[in-house]
């Protein structure tokens, strides 16, 4: 029961540091926002709506089909409150 889909992805690209993560992002129309940890990267796609009830399957599929990508997941917003 996650919140809306965002225009960002978490992407696992083994050995992505040597320019591979940037290349993957560029080839598929994403921007590499930087590393989350290890070989996991934070991508954004500026042609995807920042808030959507449905996933951006086309962009997900492109990442899924790229052999350099081990795993990718479109990020959903979580409700978080200051205390």
């Amino acid at each position: 029961n996650g919140g809306h889909y965002t225009h960002t992805w978490a992407v696992h690209i083994p050995n992505g540091d040597n320019g591979i993560a940037d290349a993957v992002a560029k080839e598929h129309g994403f921007v590499n926002l930087g590393k989350i940890f290890d070989d996991h990267y934070h991508f954004a796609h500026h042609k995807v709506s920042k808030r959507s009830l449905t996933p951006a399957s086309h962009h997900q599929t492109r990442l899924d089909l790229d052999e350099r990508v081990h795993w990718a997941k479109q990020q959903r917003a979580k409700s978080r409150s200051k205390r």
């Binding site: 029961n1 979580k78 409700s79």
Partner: protein
């Protein structure tokens, strides 16, 4: 000490000590939770007097940004402990709006490391520490955003302080996703050169909504040091949530007549009205920074051990105080009590790194039991083979159950040492039909106890429809040997008992799930059932539970014993008839014991 000396002492030594704590920051006199003395503050001043100010320790605030050029912050501001995850740059400066809605992180940061003696605003608990901010709440929060924040520069940052979480609305059950969970694991295993990142978390403000912080997967996590609040008068605040995963408490706001927390605010200003558990977690983070300065080798688990041993129950009023199986007072509102900075620093100086964490998971077999409306059932699980865990730290009861209304379910866990832990209270707003799917209810209440023996899980269904439990797994964390070299087995429980007197006789007479009286009465202060059971004496088994023992062995907690376990005595039929009446009066019980 501080208050007594301030007005008239003339000796040079006394004056120098006074000078050491007489700051010229104008809000210092209002910082009641640091300077009111008489055992009613968090005992920070003695640590300061010894020169412990958090120097060399790095704290970051995961929140809505940090006003890094604030006059009380800029001296201690650490850009390497800062990042803007919302805007993807290195500057965590908050976004300013008409309502100053992004003041939260700046307020939290000042509690930790506001500069002392700069004639401006307040004094941070760790005023010598470095402080950074991660701007991550001012935008969509996703699993990736959380993971990125929690794993920022883990070889540089020592302590991450978080005063946020899933909605405290009394109906949410939510926790870290797969990436954030991995960030916690990576942080605690690899951060700080392998000693483990320290994650300090506010336990939640859902008291008014009857929320339970065990339904928040961040505070309920073993990787976070979960902090609750106490008011100026030592009461449970109106916003406080009760749960078994809270480790300790710091002061914060309370009723309208009670004071709040002083700290930095947006626009280079100052406030004396920071509130809630949000204000408590950074105070704990500041104290943790002092402790790490006194011993940089402490691991993330060392710090939790030190909190457990030094937190002070005194002056905190709560009906849920109880005494666990090793004699420690613990409460569902306050954990082990109010954090004591000076005592933590003292203990930390000579602390020996705790032995490696051991983990043992036991799966209750064939759990598929209905819980009728307005009834409860009790499940039992014998722990006999977790040889690597003899001294408990965190305990998780991972539970899968279905219910027509999740808020109708209550869960209680009883340890072999007879510590009764509330894992879940009724939540009046929780109408969800989702139940719980392998939710790891966590408890710190049995810290130091032996896990060996019989664990009991009570499931209460206060609703009008049937509920069903389908899975119960126990995950026990702890050590094989005592956590400190001078801790002999059971030594601490005896010392603690002497401190707290005889008001802790445990009543172990009760109906079990089948309605049978137990065959042995447990008396006295501690109910540690040593695992000296004799399996060969069991005549009939069911699901690892012995149903009948061969004479002359004794039956106790589903096992057979050749001799009565410690603190138990043989029970006759006559005892059974009388004791249920007598034991209802604690005084009589203690006298009998």
């Amino acid at each position: 000490d501080f208050i007594r000396m301030r007005p008239s002492r003339t000796s040079s030594r006394a004056m120098s000590l006074v000078d050491a704590v007489s700051f010229d920051d104008p809000k210092w006199p209002q910082m009641w939770y640091l300077n009111r003395g008489n055992g009613l503050d968090m005992n920070v001043i003695p640590a300061w007097k010894e020169g412990i100010t958090g120097k060399g320790v790095v704290v970051t605030i995961l929140d809505d940004g940090l006003e890094s050029n604030h006059p009380d912050i800029e001296q201690n501001y650490d850009p390497k402990a800062s990042y803007d995850v919302n805007s993807h740059d290195d500057d965590p400066m908050p976004h300013y709006d008409m309502t100053d809605s992004n003041r939260h992180g700046t307020r939290c940061a000042g509690e930790v490391a506001a500069t002392a003696n700069n004639s401006f605003c307040a004094v941070g608990i760790a005023y010598g520490a470095s402080v950074g901010g991660v701007r991550m709440l001012d935008g969509d929060v996703t699993d990736a955003v959380e993971a990125r924040s929690l794993s920022l520069n883990p070889q540089h940052i020592d302590i991450y302080s978080a005063s946020w979480g899933p909605d405290d609305d009394g109906k949410t059950v939510d926790g870290p996703g797969e990436l954030a969970s991995r960030a916690f694991i990576e942080g605690t295993t690899k951060g700080r050169g392998g000693k483990g990142s320290i994650f300090i978390w506010a336990s939640g403000n859902g008291g008014r909504e009857m929320d339970n912080c065990n339904c928040d997967g961040y505070t309920n996590s073993i990787w976070t040091l979960s902090i609750s609040s106490a008011t100026e008068e030592g009461n449970v605040p109106w916003y406080s949530e009760k749960c078994s995963s809270t480790l300790a408490t710091t002061y914060s706001s309370g009723g309208q007549s009670e004071k709040q927390v002083v700290t930095t605010d947006l626009h280079h200003s100052c406030t004396a009205s920071h509130t809630g558990t949000s204000a408590s977690a950074p105070l704990a983070a500041g104290i943790a920074a002092l402790v790490l300065q006194s011993n940089q080798n402490l691991t993330w688990r060392d710090l939790q051990h030190i909190v457990v041993r030094t937190a002070k129950p005194a002056n905190l009023k709560d009906s849920s105080w109880s005494i666990n199986g090793v004699g420690r007072r613990v409460s569902h509102s306050f954990g082990y009590g109010l954090m004591d900075a000076s005592d933590m620093v003292r203990v930390a100086r000579t602390w020996k790194t705790v032995p490696e964490q051991q983990r043992c998971e036991i799966n209750a077999p064939h759990v598929d039991k209905a819980i009728p409306p307005r009834k409860h059932i009790t499940l039992q699980l014998a722990v006999n083979h977790c040889l690597s865990v003899n001294y408990l730290e965190h305990v998780q009861a991972k539970i899968t159950l279905t219910s027509q209304r999740r808020g109708d379910i209550q869960l209680y866990l009883r340890s072999p040492a007879n510590t009764r832990v509330t894992l879940l209270t009724s939540r009046i707003h929780d109408n969800s039909r989702s139940g719980f799917n392998q939710w790891p209810f966590m408890s710190v209440h049995t810290w130091g106890e032996s896990p060996h023996g019989n664990w009991q899980l009570e499931i209460h269904n206060e609703g009008r429809y049937m509920a069903q439990i389908t899975q119960w797994d126990m995950i026990l964390y702890g050590t094989e040997v005592p956590s400190q070299p001078d801790d002999e087995p059971n030594k601490s429980q005896r010392n603690q008992f002497n401190l707290y007197g005889n008001d802790m006789a445990h009543n172990d007479i009760e109906h079990d799930a089948s309605g049978q009286w137990r065959n042995m009465q447990q008396v006295g202060e501690v109910g540690m059932a040593q695992d000296r059971s004799n399996a060969a004496a069991c005549l009939k088994w069911n699901d690892q539970k012995c149903l009948e023992c061969q004479e002359p062995s004794y039956f106790y907690q589903d096992l057979c014993y050749d001799e009565c376990p410690q603190h138990t005595y043989p029970q006759t039929h006559a005892d059974e008839l009388d004791l249920d009446v007598e034991l209802s009066d604690p005084d009589i019980t203690a006298a009998n014991a």
